[in-house]
Structures are given as structure tokens and as C-alpha cells.
């Protein structure tokens, strides 16, 4: 469990990135922080592994205040996946994945064996192990990023818009893979995105943020869509603008789900 307790972050020039933020990210669940750019969501994420220290308030991992843990060992036990994967361009794929275990002093052979397992888990082919990141596609690089985040078998995985830079088809693919991996591994994930569809697809808990990391609404995907707390949330979700206001339309070939503009959003099928 990760707990943000009355966290503030202000900078010397007076900007307040985060004001009085309190939230609990439950163990083994995915919490998605969603908001427009500049709302402070990345700042919040970086407070968990002390890339940013709060000006006041505290971040707890279970019963441990992260401020009491030296940053370097703390970061080595928290997985981190970022946009554009943030891979080390001078290291082969296998070495990128094995980075944290190697930093932790795991023998090279063992770290590489573990990295090979992870490549399989995230859907990379074994022959890609000896390539350099620049020789992979964006989607493949992102898979390497996820594998690297999982390499030290951390309880916590922080994901900062990890699928933001890949095309929509690949993104959907990566989201599905993440759901599958999460069902298997049950990590405590904090996921940052500005894409509400991604938030609804991945989150057990959705936290919609306004400027200064003010929580506009927190709840399950069902709660936020069914009962948006205010106009800001409804607007952010796209309710009232038609994109999420769906209805059914019968066609000769089956029932279509259509959005408020009359555009097809999907089709109706039997669950299962």
C-alpha cells in the first residue's frame, strides 16, 4: 500500500505543483492518476521513489515513511517505467532489463536468466536479447521498459505515461499485456496518464486530478463514469460532449454501439 498524506510540493519561484494531496493506493491494485499536463501527476509519482521530495506531508509505503529510506536503495526496490521507455541506448536489451538486479549485486548469469524470463513474459522474442534499444520498434522498446521495471521483482511499479509515445494499435496491445501481467503478478501499480480511455481500461482505482493535483474525483471506473462528481470530471471524461454518451442502434448485421455524434464506438456482443 502506498499512502500520500497531506503532501505539498512548491518550488522556490512560488509555483505550487501539488497542494494537500491525500490518497491511498491499495496493495496489488492499479491506481491511475489521470489529468491534463501540468496537473502535478508526474510529480506525485516521483514522490514515491524520492525523485521528488515533498515540501510538506509524507509518502508512506506500508508502515515506512519514504523520507526515512535513502533514495538509492529505495529506487532499486521500486519498478519505474517511463515514456519512451528511457532505455539505456548503449546497453543491449538483455542488459537493460538486468540493470537493477546487477546494481543489487545479483551475479550476471542469474540476472540474465531472469531477464530472459521477463522477455518472454512481456512478449519479446529471445533473439532480440542482443539488440540495442535503437534497433527495436517503439512498442518493443516499451515492452523492454516494462520488463526492466519488473526485473528486481518489486512490489511496487510506477508507470509514467509508459504507452504515451506509441501508436494507438500498439498502445491497445500493450495495455492488454499489462492487464494480463497484472492479473498474474498483482503488483501495486501507480499509473500516470492524460488519456481517460487508458485510465478506464487499466485502473482499479481512477483518480481524476485538476490543477495543483486537486482530486476532482477518485473511484472505480464504474463510479466515475456513472456518477461524475462535478462538471470538471464530466467534461474530462467527455460526457456531454458525446464521446462516452453511447446508445444502441440496430443494423441489418447486428447491434452497434453509437456515440453522441452517431459514430460507431463498437458493437454489442454477448459477454464471455
Amino acid at each position: 500500500m502506498i499512502r500520500f498524506q497531506d503532501v505539498c510540493k512548491s518550488y522556490p519561484d512560488g509555483t505550487e505543483a501539488v497542494r494537500d494531496f491525500t490518497l491511498e493506493a491499495p496493495t496489488g491494485k492499479t491506481t491511475v492518476l489521470v489529468g491534463s499536463s501540468g496537473c502535478g501527476k508526474t510529480t506525485l509519482l516521483r514522490m514515491v521513489n524520492r525523485m521528488v521530495d515533498p515540501t510538506s506531508g509524507a509518502v508512506w509505503i506500508d508502515d515506512e515513511n519514504v523520507a526515512d529510506v535513502p533514495p538509492v536503495p529505495l529506487r532499486r526496490r521500486i519498478g519505474y517505467v517511463m515514456q519512451n521507455a528511457g532505455l539505456l541506448p548503449h546497453r543491449k536489451v538483455i542488459d537493460n532489463i538486468a540493470t537493477v538486479p546487477l546494481l543489487n549485486g545479483v551475479p550476471k548469469a542469474q540476472a540474465h536468466a531472469r531477464a530472459a524470463e521477463l522477455m518472454e513474459l512481456v512478449g519479446l522474442e529471445a533473439r532480440q536479447a542482443n539488440r540495442y534499444p535503437d534497433q527495436l520498434s517503439g512498442g518493443q522498446q516499451q515492452r523492454v521498459g516494462v520488463a526492466r521495471g519488473l526485473a528486481a521483482d518489486p512490489n511496487i511499479l510506477l508507470m509514467d505515461e509508459p504507452f504515451g509515445a506509441v501508436d494507438p494499435l500498439v498502445r491497445a496491445d500493450l495495455q492488454a499485456e499489462l492487464l494480463r501481467i497484472q492479473r498474474e503478478l498483482e503488483k501495486t501499480i501507480v499509473f500516470v496518464t492524460h488519456d481517460i480511455a487508458e485510465a478506464l481500461a487499466l485502473g482499479d482505482q481512477i483518480v481524476i486530478l485538476a490543477k495543483g493535483a486537486r482530486i476532482a474525483q477518485a473511484g472505480t471506473p464504474q463510479q466515475v463514469v456513472a456518477e461524475p462528481a462535478d462538471d470538471f470530471v464530466a467534461d474530462f471524461l467527455g460526457l456531454g460532449r458525446g464521446t462516452l454518451d453511447l446508445h444502441l442502434r440496430e443494423t441489418p448485421t447486428g447491434t452497434l454501439v453509437v456515440d453522441g455524434h452517431g459514430r460507431p464506438a463498437g458493437r454489442l456482443v454477448e459477454p464471455g
Binding site: V72, P73, Y80, H90, Y132, D134
Partner: protein, 212 residues
């Protein structure tokens, strides 16, 4: 050509002396430029100060420097140390800027992500920033190497043994072949060392080839 064939031994020993002056100076300016370049990038005030100071070194006329250094350092006029120190200063003039630019060329995302992985500051410098600065460092080092190998010859005016002595001596005694040999051997040496640096770069930075 006959002159060359009759004096192979002399050319060989002069080449060796030439390298013994140039290589320590190249290595020293590279090694010293790294921390200076790092400091230059670290603080706002330090970049302008250090880069300007380093650049000014290049404005010092070389011959007077070779003459003055012995009395400053306390070694004999023809001691190799004077030459190596002078060449190192000129090397630094070029290399400090290269080192600062090279370290600045490492992308912020990769620095952030390696911090997030749990590299300590020092670990990150040696495992991530230094290797990724490699291509720009190498470009700077190649300029320093060629420039140093050619500058060595100035010291031959003071009688220090190196390939430059061939054209000083050849000029004084009117032996054109000796002058030409001195010039061509200096150029050839610069090209060979440059080629070796390129090969070393490829061996040490295999990822740069993969990128293309």
C-alpha cells in the same frame, strides 16, 4: 627517397620521440578535461568561466610558452616535461569545451530514468553519462590528437627531439628531402593516430554503429 632510405633509423627514433611527447599530452588533456567539463556543466557560473579560461589558453603564443615554462616549472630547457605540459595546456583549451558539450549531450530522459533505476550519482556518471558522452568526446579527442601531434614540432626550434627537428635541420642545411620527410611523417603520424582513435571508438561504442 634516397635520403629517407639512408636515414630510416633517424626517422624511426624521431617518430618515437614525437609520440612520447604527444601521447602523454593527449592523454593528460583528455583526463583533466573530463572533471573540468563536468564542473562547467554543473553550475551556471562555471560554464562561462571555465570555457572562456580554457579558450584563452589557446591564445598563448606557443614559442614563448615553450621558452617560459622551463623557468616556471624548474626543469631544464630541453626537458620533455616542459613540452608535455605546454601541449597539455593547448589540448585542454580544446578538450574542456568538448567534454562539457559531450556531457551536456546526454539526454535528460536517460539521466532521469537511470536515476529512477537506482544508480548513485557517481555510478550514473561512469555507467551512463560517460559512455553516452563517448561519441562527442571522441570527436573532440580526434581534434586534440591531430593538433597536438602537429604542435609538437614547434618545440624542435628549442632543440627538443621530434619529427620537427627534421625540417628545422633540413631547412638549415638546405636538404629539401629532409624537410619534406619531416612534414609528411608528421602528417602521416597524425592520420595514423586518428585512424586508431576511430577504430578504438568503434570497438568501445558498438551501439553507435547499431543506431545507423
Amino acid at each position: 627517397m634516397t635520403w629517407v632510405l639512408n636515414n630510416l633509423e633517424l626517422i624511426g627514433s624521431r617518430t618515437l620521440s614525437h609520440l612520447l611527447l604527444a601521447i602523454p599530452a593527449i592523454v593528460a588533456s583528455f583526463v583533466l578535461a573530463l572533471p573540468l567539463g563536468w564542473v562547467a556543466n554543473r553550475y551556471r557560473w562555471s560554464r562561462a568561466t571555465l570555457l572562456t579560461a580554457a579558450g584563452l589558453l589557446y591564445a598563448i603564443p606557443s614559442l614563448p610558452l615553450f621558452v617560459v615554462l622551463p623557468s616556471v616549472l624548474g626543469f631544464g630547457v630541453r626537458d620533455r616535461i616542459n613540452v608535455i605540459v605546454a601541449l597539455t595546456l593547448y589540448g585542454l583549451a580544446l578538450m574542456v569545451r568538448s567534454a562539457a558539450d559531450a556531457l551536456a549531450s546526454v539526454g535528460m530522459p536517460v539521466v532521469l530514468s537511470s536515476t529512477a533505476l537506482g544508480y548513485s550519482a557517481a555510478g550514473r556518471f561512469f555507467a551512463v553519462e560517460l559512455p553516452l558522452a563517448g561519441p562527442v568526446l571522441l570527436a573532440g579527442l580526434r581534434v586534440v590528437s591531430v593538433s597536438t601531434i602537429s604542435l609538437v614540432t614547434v618545440s624542435s626550434l628549442l632543440g627538443v627531439d621530434n619529427l620537427g627537428l627534421l625540417f628545422v635541420d633540413g631547412f638549415q642545411r638546405g636538404i629539401i628531402a629532409e624537410v619534406l620527410t619531416g612534414i609528411m611523417a608528421t602528417v602521416a603520424l597524425a592520420l595514423i593516430v586518428d585512424g586508431l582513435l576511430v577504430l578504438a571508438g568503434r570497438a568501445l561504442m558498438p551501439w553507435t554503429k547499431a543506431r545507423r
